[in-house]
C-alpha cells in the first residue's frame, strides 16, 4: 500500500471523518460505494414484501402505521441513493444494476410474507436487526453516510414500536392470532440469524478495516440475540433452535450455526422471491419512465 493510502487508513482507524470531496484511496471509494449502494437497494426492496399488507391492514390505525413505515423506507432509499450519487454513481444506473442482478440487497428481502403475523415479526425483529447495524454505522468514517444514519435510526425506532404493538396485540388475542405470530417467527428465524453476515473476524474484514463498518458481524448478531431473545421468550413464543442459549459466564449466546450457503445463494439472486420482486421493480420502472422524462428530463 502506498504511503498516502497508509496514512488514510491510519486516519480513519483513528476515528477520522471523510467528506465527499476529500481524497480517498480507490479501494476505499469502491468498497464504500458498494456497501452504501447495497443498503439503498435493501431499503428499496424491503418495501415490496410489506406494501401488500398495507392494502390488507385490519384496522385504520394499522393501515396508517404500516403505510408510514413503508414510506420511511422509501425515504431512506432516497437519502442513501443521494449519498451514492454524490459518490459518482447516478440513481438510474443503480436501478439498472439492481434489476439486472449485478448489485445486491440484504437476504431478508428475498423471502415471502405470508400472513399478518409476518407484518408484526418483520417490523419488530427484522427492523431490530437492521437498527443494530445502523447504530454502528453512525460512526462510519464516511461522514455524509454517517449523518443520514441519524435520521434513519430515529425513524426505525418507530417501526420497532409498531411491530411490537402488532405482535403484542396478537399475543393477547385469539389462539389463531398467537399461532400466526409463532408460525411467522419459525419462518423468519433462519434469515434473521443470517442477516448480520457470516462470522468473519473484524481484522479480516476490509469493510471494518476502513471503518466503513464499525462493528464485526458476529458482534451485531450477539447484540441482537441479547436484546431480543428475552423479549421473544417473555411472550411465551419459542425460537426454532434447540441449541439457542446464553452462556451466563461468558455472556455469549450459543446457537445452531446458520446456513451460510443459503445466505450466499439468496444474496446472489436465488431467493424464493428475488426474481418476482426484481421483475415488479422493472415493470413499475418501465411504466413510469415517461413521467421521469417529462418531470426530471431523464433520458430514461
Amino acid at each position: 500500500m502506498e504511503q498516502r493510502e497508509q496514512e488514510f487508513l491510519q486516519y480513519v482507524q483513528d476515528g477520522g471523518q471523510v467528506e465527499v470531496d476529500d481524497w480517498m484511496p480507490d479501494e476505499y471509494r469502491a468498497r464504500l460505494r458498494k456497501f452504501i449502494e447495497m443498503h439503498a437497494n435493501s431499503e428499496l426492496m424491503g418495501v415490496l414484501p410489506e406494501r401488500e399488507w398495507i392494502l390488507r391492514a385490519p384496522t385504520l390505525q394499522r393501515k396508517l402505521a404500516l403505510t408510514a413505515k413503508v414510506q420511511d423506507e422509501v425515504g431512506h432509499a432516497q437519502l442513501i441513493y443521494r449519498v451514492v450519487e454524490d459518490l459518482g454513481k447516478p440513481r438510474e444506473q443503480c436501478f439498472d444494476d439492481l434489476i439486472s442482478g449485478k448489485s445486491k440487497f440484504h437476504n431478508v428481502f428475498h423471502y415471502p410474507t405470508k400472513t399478518w403475523g409476518d407484518v408484526g415479526v418483520i417490523a419488530w425483529l427484522v427492523d431490530a436487526a437492521a437498527i443494530i447495524s445502523q447504530k454502528a454505522l453512525l460512526k462510519c468514517s464516511y461522514a455524509p453516510y454517517a449523518r443520514i444514519m441519524k435520521k434513519i435510526c430515529w425513524e426505525e425506532s418507530f417501526h420497532i414500536l409498531h411491530g411490537r404493538d402488532v405482535v403484542l396485540t396478537m399475543m393477547l388475542g385469539t389462539d389463531d392470532q398467537r399461532e400466526l405470530v409463532q408460525e411467522a417467527l419459525n419462518r423468519w428465524w433462519g434469515p434473521l440469524m443470517q442477516f448480520h453476515g457470516n462470522p468473519i473476524p473484524a481484522d479480516e474484514d476490509p469493510t471494518y478495516q476502513w471503518r466503513i463498518k464499525t462493528q464485526a458481524n458476529d458482534e451485531a448478531r450477539q447484540q441482537f440475540l441479547d436484546g431480543y431473545v428475552p423479549q421473544i421468550w417473555e411472550l411465551g413464543l419459542t425460537v426454532p433452535d434447540p441449541e439457542l442459549r446464553k452462556d451466563e459466564e461468558t455472556g455469549r449466546w450459543h446457537f445452531t450455526e446458520p446456513d451460510w450457503d443459503e445466505l450466499k445463494s439468496v444474496v446472489t439472486g436465488h431467493g424464493p422471491k428475488t426474481a418476482d420482486r426484481l421483475d415488479l421493480r422493472r415493470q413499475a420502472r418501465e411504466r413510469s419512465a415517461w413521467v421521469r422524462q417529462v418531470v426530471l428530463a431523464d433520458a430514461a
Binding site: 384496522t59 385504520l60 396508517l64 403505510t67 422509501v74 399478518w116 388475542g173 392470532q177 411504466r287 413521467v291
Partner: protein
Amino acid sequence: MVSPMLRNVSEQGRAQLLLGIADDELILGWRDSEWTGVAPFLEEDVAFSSIAQNEIGHARALYELAARDLGTTADELAFDRRPAEYRCAQLVELRLPGWEHTIARHCLYEAADAERLARLIASDDPEVAGLAAKIDREEAYHRMHADMWFDRLSGEPRFQAALEELRPLATAIADPELRNGHTPDLAELLEVMTEVRRSQPPGTTW
C-alpha cells in the same frame, strides 16, 4: 337487507352525509396508497404516500363522527359493511395503474372536494363545520400538489386524455345525488382490504 348498524341512517342524515365523504376518502386513500414503493420516483413516492395517509386520516375522523351517531366504531364502518352499503363515488373506486390517470383523478377530486368542503365549513353543525375546516387545511396542500403536477403534465396528450375520460365521474363527488351504484373494482378492493380482518371473528382486536 341493510346491516344492523345502518338501520338508523335514514333518521340520521348527518351520518349518511358523513359516510359518503368518509367512504370517498377511504377508498381514494386506499387507491393512492397502492403507489407506496412504486411511484415514478423516490421523492414523489414519499410525498404521495403522505397524501394517501392524510386521506385515510380524514376518513377516520369522519367515520368517528358518524360512528357516534350510529352507535358503532370507525373501524366497523370502514371495514365491516357489505360492498353495496358503501357510499363512495365511482371515481375513487377505479383501479388506475397509470400515473397519468392517478394524477388526473387527484386533480379532479381535489377540485370537487374543495367545493364540498366549502359547503360543509358553512354548515350550521359546529362539529361538521369544525372537522371540515381541519380537513380543508390539509387539503390545501393536496391542492398545491395537484396544481404542481397539472402544470407539469398539462402538455402531455395522455394526461389530457385521462382528464377527459375521468371528468364525467367527478361531478358525483360534490353531488351525491349523482351517485349510481358501484363498479366491480370496489368489490375486488374490499375483498383485499378486509382479507385479514375477516380471518378472525368480529370484535377481534388487531
